[in-house]
Amino acid sequence: MKLFLYLALLSLITHGAVCAKPVLIANAAVSINSLSSQQVDAIFKGKTPSWPGGQHIELGLLREGYGSTNEKFLNDHIGMSPDQFANYWNRLIFTGRASTPKTFNQEADLINFIASTPNSLGYADDKKLPPSVKVITLQ
């Protein structure tokens, strides 16, 4: 019985981790409410550096991480693993094609950056969001 309970608990914990659902977050002052999947792809690949209003997008990223919000977001929305994404961005940076996004080790630091930086965009687990950031829905 103990073993069953232990396995059930483990299953719940694991399920919870797997079900971490990354969402797009933006600074509360950003006027955009939704983006298409193609727009998200283009923004996070440095092809679209500006919001439709013309303001430069201040991109916030998490560092490489496996089994994390970072991995799930990149796999689901960009089609890359964290390492492939890092390689991609290093290529942009060392050929001068994009400015360096802000990167963070901790999700909380990324959320603070989004909350305090005008025109910023990033991603975070939907369960950890404070009211000071705005969730951007996917069309």
Binding site: S81, N87, F94, T95, T100, P101, T103
Partner: protein, 429 residues
């Protein structure tokens, strides 16, 4: 490690981190420093590699900044040494341009811009972006870096989105190549010609690339083309002693060689046409790639010496050589864990699409296996920290298309089957 600046670089780079620039007044500053060791058995490759060489160094420093919402300025200083190619004391501007992002569908770059070619043509030097030390040499020959590097000119580029068929990235670039006196291109062409070449002059070049980012996530298909017009390489006719060390027909010029020694000589390449088709598929922690390319060119050898016109040996003031290369590779890499990535590729290059076995070479008296190079590579990349990578790579090679005669004397003793391996230490921030 013999290189004395490595410990200093280690300290400097330990202050930086992945995707973290040193930022000064909103100017992003990045750099890298790579030191390698290259060794081979059978034949020398790029340098004195049968004895092993540390002459495998490259470094770069770049700065860039956004000016307002649409304009971006930046540049990168770069230096490298690979065996007998390049020189660490002669850094060059790798790229330096103004980038005006008008809208996603149409933007402009002006200055010295990177050349769009295949999947990785703009990232030849960027060790931190791949597991391999050497990109497949069939398409990305390290000796032709100057030919494949920056373009003095400008680009039009953009992305066209479709609702259900993915998106298309395009890039049209025009300008001129920037070929240096110590470049591998001049050495490689000199190695197979009557002249020692030391300058590259007037030319213009056009490049086009269309990338289809397919609706299948991770799959992109790329078509690239390049056209280089009137590339003129200048130097002086070789001495009899130098020609005697070369394979036929260069070693059989006879009395004409003495007449022409030291004469100003040009190799004019009126047209170089390159076409490439590429596919890359990112699937979970796997990266698969395949590329096919052809390069068609025609060389005119011009000897600017009155004696040349009087020769009756069939070698007169001008000779013409045509050829079309045939290049292909397949590669796969797998990220085992956050630190370790393994990769492999098989790369094939034929000097002449119509003579893949080298029978024409054999008929001329050359080594038949000089007409091709088939290279099987295995590599491992280990990310020690987010700013420090070490790599190891081994190659088994059949054929000597990319080796140089002057580094492998006597040329009759070149080995058809040979191997080379490399270690690479990469710091970047």
């Amino acid at each position: 490690m013999k290189n004395p600046i490595t410990p200093l670089v280690l300290i400097i780079f330990s202050c930086a981190n992945f995707l973290h620039a040193w930022e000064y007044n909103h100017i992003d500053i990045h750099g890298f420093f790579d030191q390698g060791y290259l060794a081979s058995s059978g034949n020398n490759y790029f340098g004195d590699t049968t004895n092993g060489t540390w002459q495998m160094t490259q470094a770069a420093l770049n700065a860039s900044a956004n000016i307002g919402n649409n304009l971006r300025l930046g540049g990168q200083l770069y230096t490298f040494r690979l065996g007998d190619i390049g020189g660490l004391t002669t850094p060059q501007i790798d790229w330096l341009y103004a980038d005006y992002h008008w809208k996603d569908t149409l933007s402009f770059r002006l200055g010295k811009v990177k050349q769009p070619k295949g999947l990785y043509g703009d990232a030849l030097d960027l060790e931190m972006t791949r597991p391999y030390i050497f990109l497949p040499q069939s398409l990305y020959a390290a000796s032709w870096r100057d030919f494949s590097g920056g373009i003095l000119g400008g680009s039009l580029y953009g992305t066209l989105n479709t609702h259900s068929h993915g998106s298309f990235d395009y890039n049209f670039t025009a300008g001129s190549l920037d070929i240096r006196h110590n470049s591998g291109l001049l050495q490689e062409i000199s190695d197979d010609s009557y002249a020692n070449l030391n300058t590259a002059t007037e030319n213009y070049a056009l490049f086009g690339q269309l990338t289809w980012n397919t609706p299948t996530k991770g799959l992109r298909l790329v078509a690239s083309s390049a056209y280089v017009h009137n590339l003129t390489l200048k130097g002086f006719f070789k001495s009899q002693a130098e020609l005697d060390l070369m394979p036929p027909p260069h070693n059989s010029l006879g009395a004409a060689a003495a007449l022409l020694e030291g004469a100003p000589t040009s190799i004019i390449i009126p047209h170089v046409i390159v076409g490439a088709l590429s596919a890359e598929y990112l699937w979970h922690d796997w990266t698969f790639a395949a590329e096919y390319s052809r390069k068609a060119s025609q060389y005119h050898l011009m000897v600017e010496d009155p004696d040349a016109a009087s020769l009756s040996s069939g070698f007169v003031g001008q000779t013409t050589t045509k050829n079309t290369t045939n290049d292909f590779y397949l590669s796969a890499s797998y990220r085992v864990n956050p630190h370790l990535e393994l990769g492999s590729y098989y790369s094939i290059k034929f000097n002449d699409i119509h003579d893949p076995s080298g029978s024409g070479y054999a008929a001329e008296g050359k080594n038949r296996f000089n007409a091709y190079q088939k290279d099987f590579a295995l590599c491992a990349r280990y990310d020690i920290t987010p700013w420090w990578i070490v790599k190891i790579e081994g190659h088994l090679v059949d054929g000597t298309f990319s080796t140089w005669t002057f580094q492998n004397q006597p040329w009759q003793d070149e080995k058809r089957n040979w191997a080379y391996g490399a270690l690479q230490n990469v710091f970047y921030f």
